[in-house]
């Protein structure tokens, strides 16, 4: 167990690290049809244990439906889901106590205070004994910074406070898997940073996290793995670093003779365009071929830089390509 001792995970016991490399979630040929709409179509997915798994996709791409099927909230039309090594839905009774989830926004009763709402959640939480409910609720409120507003009715909470209460419910007890669907919705920048800290703490404690978000920079900052959904199909998934590498990032060439460089590069069959003071090679033959050609043509090259695409670029490329 890591000794980082963050408050989020202080109570975490010995449940996380001894989990073998069994994936936190495994999905095979999953399909969900609502009427004539195919929401999720033939998705295969492995969420490695201990990973922070970012689920990306444009609105309506099936992220939430996929997450809901993972948690047994929606029945798949066909296909299989395993969560923490147990089948869904048959194994859910044993699995769900180890899973914290914030799905489709926080669900609470407007007429109850934040604390009362959380108490109600805690009362149904199998991992808490009756005497632990009160302290666990107070801890959770403290952890998400809601303690001062705990006595106020949920009705009067701001969007960010509601989101925090939802997070508090998901993290009421130490979990092996935490599923956060758009956790930064309605949060201010400070709240967004806190979510990032929470996710890092969870990861440090050995828990797996599945995170869906439309804030690509957030995902890039915290995720080790990503899956990109488009129109219900999985169009990319894997380790974030590898995915980014696989996208040809191109080369940035600093030169005082951009026209000459462009001519030379295009003659070699490369796709290149002017970029600022230099030239950007997007695609084409292997790099050494191009550089040799530049040198042969006497183009003064002042600098070469491999351009690594960021997640936003990857996402845009993957999701905006034609079908």
């Amino acid at each position: 167990m890591t000794g980082t001792g963050t408050r989020t995970t202080a109570a975490r016991s010995d449940t996380a690290l001894e989990e073998p490399a069994r994936p936190a979630a495994r999905v095979r040929d999953l399909r969900k049809v609502f009427g004539s709409t195919v929401a999720v179509d033939g998705v295969d997915l492995d969420v490695p244990a201990g990973s922070v798994f970012g689920m990306l996709g444009p609105n309506g791409s099936g992220k939430t439906t996929l997450i809901r099927m993972l948690l047994g909230l929606t029945r798949p039309t066909s296909g299989t889901v395993e969560l923490l090594g147990r089948p869904v839905p048959d194994g859910l009774t044993a699995t769900l106590p180890d899973v914290g989830a914030l799905v489709e926004g926080p669900g609470f009763h407007p007429f109850l205070s934040g604390r009362e709402n959380l108490r109600r959640v805690a009362a149904t939480e199998p991992r808490l004994s009756s005497s632990q409910i009160r302290p666990a609720v107070s801890d959770a409120l403290e952890r998400v910074g809601l303690a001062p507003a705990a006595g106020r009715r949920f009705r009067g909470y701001s969007l960010g406070m509601k989101q925090r209460l939802g997070l508090a419910a998901a993290l009421l007890v130490p979990r092996r898997l935490v599923v956060l669907d758009e956790p930064t919705n309605g949060l201010d920048p400070a709240g967004t940073r806190e979510i990032r800290a929470v996710v890092s703490d969870l990861r440090a404690s050995g828990a797996s996290v599945i995170l869906s978000s439309h804030l690509l920079s957030e995902v890039e900052a915290v995720c080790s793995h990503v899956a990109v959904l488009k129109a219900g199909s999985l169009v990319a998934s894997g380790e974030l670093g590898r995915l980014l590498d696989a996208v040809a990032g191109g080369w940035e060439i600093e030169t005082t003779d951009p026209d000459g460089a462009l001519r030379t590069l295009r003659a070699e069959g490369a796709t290149a365009r002017p970029d600022g003071s230099g030239v950007l090679v997007e695609d084409g033959p292997e790099a050494p071929v191009l550089f040799a050609a530049l040198v042969r043509a006497g183009v003064p090259v002042h600098g070469l830089r491999r351009r690594r695409p960021d997640l936003e670029e990857l996402f845009t490329r993957i999701t905006e390509e034609g079908p």
Binding site: E18, R68, T74, P97, G107, R120
Partner: protein, 281 residues
């Protein structure tokens, strides 16, 4: 190292306690109970102020305080008590779904069957409280405004419609009987309302179904050509409450209406369970 401790499931008492706490903290539950409690009081005041003797269940109450709770239950059963149960049923599943809290319960996880039991318990508690409040309020209002449980010159507590006089213990027994009978009828309404609630996330759908159903049954009961189905309408048996004021009690109608209610209870319960086992949340 040891495997993680197997999750204990939450005890029934804790689960039902949480549901009870939720039901009783809901402001509308308390407002509804207060309004229901006011009805027998208003009836008593009306009877005291009225000087037109008419042969009706209400006029039987005059000078005979213990009949007031029976009259109140019988009158409220036609609309307001079923409505209170419908409100509770609407909140129990459709309302939870609307607020996104049904998801939380399923993710906790409260098993789906346990969830049904927990919700049915909550509705039953509201129904029982409603019946208890009306009965107690009726007894108190009858005692204070109409007269103590003593038949003038009779040496008993309750004058029946058949003319006999019953001692207090018998009278109390009959009050319990009519209260229990009313609760069974309301449980049947609750089961059907919960079944509707399991299909929607709009509490209003549940309310309008129950209200619409009661009105529809009233219309059907008024069409003579439909006489063959009249015995199977749950509302048909609802005038049996007054039977507890006869001596001896004619049990036929009470018994028959209880069986019909049991039929609705089983049918509603079956649909409810079947739906909740598959429902998306």
């Amino acid at each position: 190292m040891t495997a993680p401790a197997p999750p204990r499931s939450v005890s029934w008492t804790r689960l039902l306690g949480a549901e009870l706490r939720w039901v009783l903290r809901r402001p509308r539950t308390l407002v509804m109970l207060a309004l229901l409690a006011a009805v027998p009081m208003l009836m008593a005041i009306g009877i005291v102020l009225s000087d037109r003797p008419r042969r009706s269940l209400l006029s039987e109450v005059a000078g005979n305080g213990l009949t007031l709770p029976v009259a109140a239950l019988s009158i409220l059963l036609t609309l307001l008590l079923p409505l209170a149960v419908a409100v509770a049923s609407a909140d129990a599943i459709a309302g939870e779904s609307q607020h996104g809290t049904l998801r939380g319960l399923l993710l906790a996880p409260v098993g789906r069957l346990r969830l049904v039991a927990m919700k049915a318990f909550g509705v039953l508690v509201v129904a029982a409280l409603a019946v208890a409040v009306v009965t107690l309020s009726g007894v108190i209002a009858g005692w204070l405004l109409i007269g103590p449980p003593a038949v003038p010159g009779g040496g008993g507590a309750l004058l029946t419609m058949s003319g006999s006089v019953l001692p207090l213990s018998d009278a109390a027994g009959r009050l319990l009987l009519v209260a229990g009978w009313t609760l069974v009828q309301l449980a049947a309404v609750g089961a059907v309302a919960l079944a509707v609630s399991a299909f929607t996330e709009h509490p209003l759908v549940v309310l309008s179904s129950v209200l619409g159903g009661l009105i529809l049954f009233g219309v059907l009961a008024a069409i003579p050509a439909l006489e063959p189905i009249h015995p199977w309408l749950i509302t048909t048996g609802w005038d049996a409450a007054a039977d507890v004021l006869r001596d001896p009690i004619p049990l036929d109608a009470l018994w028959r209406s209880t069986l019909v209610a049991a039929g609705y209870l089983v049918a509603g319960g079956a649909v409810l369970v079947a739906r909740m086992l598959r429902r998306d949340a």
